[in-house]
Symmetry: C2
Amino acid sequence: MCPIMKSRLRPGEETAEITAPREDATVQFIGRIATPWATRDTCPRQGRQDGPVCRITVFEPWVRALEGIDGYGQLEILYWLDQSRRDLVRQNPKGDGQRYFGTFALRSPQRPNPIGTAMVALERVEGDTLVVRGLDCLDGTPLIDIKPSRCEFSPKAPDKPGAQDGPT
Amino acid sequence: MCPIMKSRLRPGEETAEITAPREDATVQFIGRIATPWATRDTCPRQGRQDGPVCRITVFEPWVRALEGIDGYGQLEILYWLDQSRRDLVRQNPKGDGQRYFGTFALRSPQRPNPIGTAMVALERVEGDTLVVRGLDCLDGTPLIDIKPSRCEFSPKAPDKPGAQDGPT
């Protein structure tokens, strides 16, 4: 944890009046992400698929859940931004006191549930580790999910009767 | 909660040997999603942007965090699949005993952290509610995050010196 990032608040930024986040459900960390970026200041603002190689290592008992992942070129990665404030409702990304945005109009790591999502290119699988490009998170970031890209994935079972026929 | 879905396990499917998920972090529900689908059997397997209208209602104190969201046509929605098993490592989506996939090679709701992601088309904002198309989740699903689509979003602050220059 980084106390400086936790406490950072720029002039005019607004927080929700909560003393602690509600605890409606729990997340388990299922792996860890190794990236070239050891500090927030050196992380890129958005990952690029021609960016540096990063390594996503999955912990047991989840390694077997990677079976078949090498059939995809693009994966969606979810991770926990564990150094983020969770109470910001309005932010001033440039820190210039000029332009403010609601938290949901930004991809800032500061959000009520600090979950980052990235679309990465899968280069190869090495046992319990995925070698990918396209991340922008800190070295050591906890992994919470891996999914096939929704663009490449097609459901493995036929559509269900009545599905998509709801009222519009 | 639906005890039938919780206990469903098909022949040959494998679970992790865990009695309960680790609790590394907590999620707060920040809204609720209204869809036309009251049961799992009627949900489509994947949302479509020409599918039915759904309504995402944000709870206080997060309504103000929607400021500026109407500048985007596409949003990424994260929600908590609260009726899912969390211990499946290998699944048989068709239930036919033939083809098995690791959990991370599927977009199934059964996963260690049951977080669904969808890309939706924003039709309009009505106060605390977003009217969207493209979801596939159950009526009443808890909302955990809203982000601008990474395709439409451009960072609001200039890139940081040294970013993207890590070793490849």
